[in-house]
Symmetry: C2
DNA sequence: CATACTTAGTTGTACAGTCCAACTTACTTA
DNA sequence: TAAGTAAGTTGGACTGTACAACTAAGTATG
């Protein structure tokens, strides 16, 4: 209990002048670009006393007790600052705190993950997209951001098995094969076409628009997300790979 | 990014002397007692300057940067202090942070939830079990602990639909109807017997012991958890109620 | 202008697992 | 011995996926 811990730490009731951990918020921002799942990273500054100078890191930083009403607002602010995106899918991922993760002292970060549509964003100069998977990215990140990123990918993959989360990675209008492709990119395995269609269409989450996508072959029906953008939860996962 | 936010807050590079939020850890501890899901709560102290004096609250308190290597260790310490239990199921639930949740200032708590077996615990004097559901508990809790508790219950119910989490609430040996009853208590609805048995037995998570539970009627096979106590994830939820 | 090619979308059969309900089994108690 | 109760099994209806073959609608090619 708070009172007790304070007494433990200090032996002085009614005061709060014991050491406090640093408090930060970091955001794992995903988008689909070039048919791959990509994550937005920034380069750390090189100033004196800066930990991990010039390393890649997740966008984030200290909570500003004057500016940020709460953690979600802080995460949304960081997302907006880096991408210009205002209202995407933003979910809390977890928190990481220890004595060792930041050389400046005991620190705890509150991690969020966001799904945005890459084309709808206007990046700041210091931010760049990096594809997931090929790049041996994990080891290159500052702090424990490699762990956080790995955790975000795992959470995303996991939820994609039984939710409509990929819909938030799509442009305003898309076809069912487009959507299936995004599922397959995130899951890194192919899905069965007819079962996929049955599932998505019976979930009542998208509606056809009066247009077709035309290409070098048979045109495809375009859809858009229905209003009320909460993700849909299915009662089954896609059957796992053999 | 950290360096930037610091500059924002301070305009003074290489220093960390801007205001830091309070950092706490709280633990939602669940157990089955008297055929009900119950949660462990403590009473807040009455000292001067104490917020929410004598209110009920989740066990928890400030991170002790000298004692706690990381957040999970801090949560495990609080769990141990209140219950004597050392190695239960302990999962991070999320974090809650805002300017308003604690009258002493901007604060963020890292919430964990634990599943333990009630009989295996030795409570401290200030801690008591409270049943979930009937008690209009939410409004009585200090801080935003009502929200945190509600969130923990939701997460637990949700996961029980497709995982073996209730196994961690069971004593060392139990019967399949015992386990089914715990699922039903948590989910607050009845499950179908044969489907339940098929699912649990084919999950390869429990093994029979060479004993039967005897009672006033047909004896039941006793089981225990298999080694390697990770929870099992099913590919389907129990079918939701009509 | 027919034919091949490609992708969109449908159909049908097999299969897995739940739901529902009836059934058998094994024990205690009257 | 019969009644009662909970453990555990069985079988048919139903839902949704897997797999595979099919039809549909367009472009490109000769």
């Amino acid at each position: 209990m708070a009172g007790e811990a304070r007494a433990e730490a200090l032996g002085k009731a009614g005061q709060l002048d014991f050491p406090r951990p640093l408090t930060t918020v970091d955001v794992v921002i995903f988008a689909i670009r070039d048919d791959r799942l990509q994550v937005l990273l920034v380069q750390r500054p090189a100033g004196e006393g800066e930990p991990f100078p010039l390393s890649l890191a997740l966008p984030g930083g200290f909570v500003d007790v004057a500016k940020d009403r709460d953690l979600a607002a802080c995460a949304a602010r960081k997302l907006k600052e880096k991408t210009g995106v205002i209202s995407p899918y933003l979910e809390q991922l977890g928190s990481w705190g220890s004595a060792a993760r930041d050389p400046r002292g005991w620190s705890a970060t509150h991690a969020y993950f966001a799904l945005i549509q890459a084309d709808a964003s206007a990046l700041t100069n210091d931010a760049r997209w990096f594809p997931i998977g090929g790049g041996r990215l994990k080891e290159k990140l500052a702090f424990d951001h490699g762990d956080i990123l790995a955790s975000a990918i795992q959470r995303l993959r996991n939820k994609v098995e039984y939710t409509s989360l990929p819909a938030f990675l799509m442009p305003a209008e898309f076809t069912l094969p487009d959507l299936q492709r995004v599922y397959e990119i995130v899951l890194d395995r192919s899905l069965e076409k007819s079962a996929f269609r049955t599932r998505i269409l019976s979930a009542d989450m998208i509606e056809p628009v009066a247009k077709m996508r035309r290409g070098p072959n048979r045109p495809a029906q375009l859809y858009r997300l229905k209003k009320g953008r909460e993700p849909v939860y299915f009662v089954r996962t896609f059957n796992p790979p053999v």
